[in-house]
Subunit: 403 residues, 2 copies
């Protein structure tokens, strides 16, 4: 940040530090950029075609962990800053605030409090979030909101130690115990069985549905990308698109007993599962956590521990916001393709923690594409998207003062 | 074996070799000893209080992987052989055949065929199996039979690669898929839901029930040993003892997605589970395997792969066999405690593969005790049991010619 002319400060948190860089512009208006410098674990390592932390160019793509999510995006924004400054004789038309945190991939436990405590430093009139880029058709676009998330670890210990499986008729198996607790949480139809779970969930509005309907489905491409023949519950068309307004209960990991080669005849005494629930406006992860605990207790699973690993609230901007309209007009000028507005992204982000206290709208403009493989082996960006996304960011920075 | 005066031969198999040692005696009668030199994996290593492959004496106990199951037992038998030979001026009162295989812990895939092909070499009039020792009250005893086992690995791949969990409303989760397949196999009451599963299962006879009733329950001790407050299904008393005649479907391991520290928001594309079914007379593991496959297909789980990892047949000897009576009388003489007869052990063994083609009975006389922790961390034997078991083996060897 310093080498790009920003006044940068590092703030210690209880976890990884938050870095804020600022520069003033000719207008009082200020645009905030959010990024993060932490990344997902690179495992499984054997599925990478080049070392995850050695950026490698191949076929017009750059491969590395974080090249898309999210270090590459931060670099694109700094490049856009340089370009705009250079076009304006060294000045910026508007002020900028860059925020880069280091705990986005663990559900941003400290950023919300940080924003509340640094409202003056972060005061701004709109924000460009991480993420974004082009879709399967090469069209730019933005999401207006993100789902929230509650990430928990469920664990159970049924015995003081593992036992020989010849005693499985009398000694309790932790894998079976946890499996049954999980089965009590979600039905075969994907509907979550925790009482009160959907109480605060707002179904999609007609505007949401119209926006979803206008979006291309890319069903065949997505099926090919993941090598699947059908989507969850056999959904297609508008119902598939609308499913982003459904909640999810995803098992991110299940670990119990012996995983090695061959055979071990053991009754595992421990089992644990990492589970994330994606939440829609206006669900509250703390409320969901309390209801999950109540549900497990009521079902007799008082022995199943629930550890909160992270939480983010759902969030949704207005489709009529001037920043959204600027992103649309500049995006269509640069890419010469329609700018697509997605009412709600499936992922989660700490956008809520900025938008509410700072009173600003939030959009995504970025450098990704559908095969960027965020969170997976062979994460990558295409160089052409890096150029297009950087140009788009520069145009928005250029036009933001005049909104 | 050679250093203890046996003529030993090593036989190559498709897996680990089988070693057979023979010595003739003054009588034509021959006693066969079965042992194995392979052991269970030592994991989890952090729960051992001394290195698993460095035998360590502590508090009158010897700790190491295999010290009970089953290397220590083989040593006890060779020591008994030396003692009897020494008491008879260098001769043996009966012939002996020692068989030590190297694949017992992976369900003995080659021993059955080996026995069929070496009936002359293995010809004998009775056999002492691995296992055995004293129970919670210090009483010796034997099991008359073993349950069979079918060990399978169930696995499913729902996508070509892992995905970001923000797409969990559309992309199929392998952990959930496998969890649901497993839930279809066994009910909450532990009853197995595979059609036809119980067709060949023989319920316990009145003699079996009488023998079970005569056995001490050791319920409180077992609860303390494993730190549990209740047994599976809340069983107690005779019903708990009789549950050995129930089948089990045990999850020995479940592996899917991310297990590391912290959070990873991923939809796993792969999940696998190691599952063992304990079978009672006269169930056939190959029949059970076919029925399991049919069940999964019928439930729509055609995508769940079933890999057979091992199989053993159930087996049961007669309670009136002279070798059983000799073990009882000598055991009560040495230990000065009642000799207890267990109609069916919960574990499995390749005993069936010897008993049927060789036409011999099979008993257990050994050096273990209930806290020997076979298959678990801190496997151990008490030195006093090593002495008692060795003495008991020597007495049987001494009396076997006269039966």
């Amino acid at each position: 940040m310093k080498s790009h002319g920003l006044q940068a400060q590092k703030f210690q948190t209880t976890g990884n530090p938050i870095v804020v860089g600022r520069a003033s512009g000719k207008s009082e208006r200020t645009l905030l950029f959010y990024n993060h410098y932490d990344v997902q674990p690179p495992e499984p390592l054997d599925l990478w075609h080049s070392p995850p932390f050695q950026p490698t160019l191949r076929d017009g793509k750059l491969f590395a962990r974080g090249v898309s999510d999210d270090k590459g995006e931060l670099i694109a924004r700094l490049a856009a800053l340089d370009a705009v400054r250079s076009a304006h004789g060294g000045d910026l038309p508007c002020g900028v605030v860059f925020v880069a945190e280091g705990e986005e991939e663990v559900a941003s436990p400290t950023i919300a409090q940080f924003v509340l405590e640094h409202k003056d430093l972060l005061r701004s009139n709109g924000s460009i979030w991480e993420g974004g880029g082009v879709d399967h058709d090469g069209c730019p676009g933005t999401a207006l909101g993100f789902r929230g998330i509650l990430y928990v670890e469920l664990s159970v210990k049924t015995m003081s130690r593992d036992a020989h499986s010849g005693s499985a008729n009398i000694l309790p198996n932790a894998a079976w115990r946890l499996l049954r607790a999980l089965a009590s949480i979600k039905g075969q139809d994907e509907r979550i069985l925790v009482p009160g779970f959907y109480d605060q969930a707002i179904p999609p509005s007609q505007i949401d549905i119209d926006q979803l309907e206008a979006l291309p489905g890319h069903e065949e491409q997505t099926r090919q990308e993941y090598g699947i023949s059908a989507f969850v519950n056999g959904l297609t068309g508008l119902e598939l698109k609308k499913s982003v307004f459904n909640n999810t209960c995803n098992i991110a990991g299940f670990d119990s007993g012996y995983h090695g080669p061959g055979v071990k005849t053991v009754i595992p005494c421990n089992a644990s599962a990492k589970v994330d629930f994606r939440l829609v406006p206006d669900q509250d992860p703390d409320d969901i956590l309390a209801k999950l605990r109540q549900h497990l207790d009521k079902q007799g699973f008082t022995d199943v521990q629930v550890k909160k690993m992270g939480a983010m609230w759902p969030f949704k901007s207005s489709a009529e916001d001037p920043l959204v309209l600027l992103a649309k007009s500049t995006g269509e000028e640069i890419y010469r393709k329609p700018f697509r507005i997605d009412p709600l992204a499936g992922g989660s982000s700490p956008a809520y923690a900025f938008a509410r206290p700072l009173g600003i709208s939030v959009i995504n403009v970025g450098i990704g594409y559908p095969d960027s493989r965020a969170h997976a082996p062979d994460e990558n960006i295409r160089l052409e998207d890096f150029e297009g996304g950087t140009r788009h960011l520069a145009y928005i920075l250029d036009g933001f003062a005049g909104l």
